[in-house]
Amino acid sequence: MKFTFVCQEDNKIFESDRFRIIDDRGVLIDGSGNKTWDAKVELLSPCPFCGKKHIFDVNELVCPFI
């Protein structure tokens, strides 16, 4: 299942299913009760545009289905 990513160098969109979750620090809850997951996603294959293995905050990613 592929997720959509945006190249941090060229700002171009690509899809990949080659990634893993890293730096998982769990779910954070702010003073208002809002939850965010503090984790990152690391590409396991180089970005097709710049060749780098980007790291994204999970909250930067877009929903793959809806």
Partner: protein, 198 residues
């Protein structure tokens, strides 16, 4: 049974947490609790893409998504991983316009032949990098220019050292490839499975 409480998290976090849990523990039964319709649908679709049978139980405003699959099911291998198994990324770096030492005329012939024959590497040829005297192969009147342009047209990423072009005053004569810098070259080396230096 693995259980994930993803209530309050915006999509795609519930899907990513589900993915992480499956990759970590490869459970045969997994329950994911979400609190909105979009996350419910996405988690179901993700689990089904991993060969789980899903069922959903509504409890007040929450959805309890349960995925089950037969014991011993192997974790998914991505399609990309399957397709590139055995395939390498080869980077060829040319630091000269002659091959070998001794006779320059012979060296040039050999280099031309080498570049023409590189296509035999097929899709494994991933980067072609020209540095030092090698950049002279990328300029107007180079005998291999049509070959290099053909490679580039076929999708090969050709990198040409900008410092070297400037040194030889050839920056405006380069006809093929992307003018590049040492950071890009070092990054390409790091990403390549094999680096061939000529």
């Amino acid at each position: 049974m693995k259980e994930i409480d993803a209530r309050g998290l915006a999509c795609p976090a519930p899907v990513l947490q589900t993915k992480a849990a499956i990759e970590e523990a490869n459970p045969n039964v997994i329950k994911v609790i979400v609190d909105n319709e979009a996350s419910k649908q996405n988690v179901c679709r993700f689990l089904e893409s991993r060969n789980y049978e899903t069922s959903v139980q509504e409890e007040e405003s929450d959805f309890h998504v349960t995925g089950k699959r037969e014991a011993g099911f192997a974790p998914e291998v991505s399609t990309h991983e399957k397709s590139t198994t055995g395939g390498k990324k080869i980077m060829v770096m040319l630091a000269t316009d002659r091959m070998g030492f001794g006779d320059d005329e012979l060296g040039l012939k050999l280099m031309i032949s080498y570049i023409k024959t590189l296509k035999e590497m097929g899709p494994e040829l991933w980067r072609l990098v020209f540095v030092n005297n090698g950049v002279k192969l990328t300029i107007k009147d180079s005998e291999v220019l049509p070959v290099l342009k053909g490679y580039e047209k076929d999708g090969l990423h050709i990198m040409v050292c900008g410092t070297c072009l400037t040194h030889f005053d050839l920056l405006d004569k380069k006809q093929v490839g992307e003018t590049t810098n040492m950071l890009d070259i070092v990054t390409a080396m790091q990403l390549a499975d094999k680096v061939i230096n000529i």
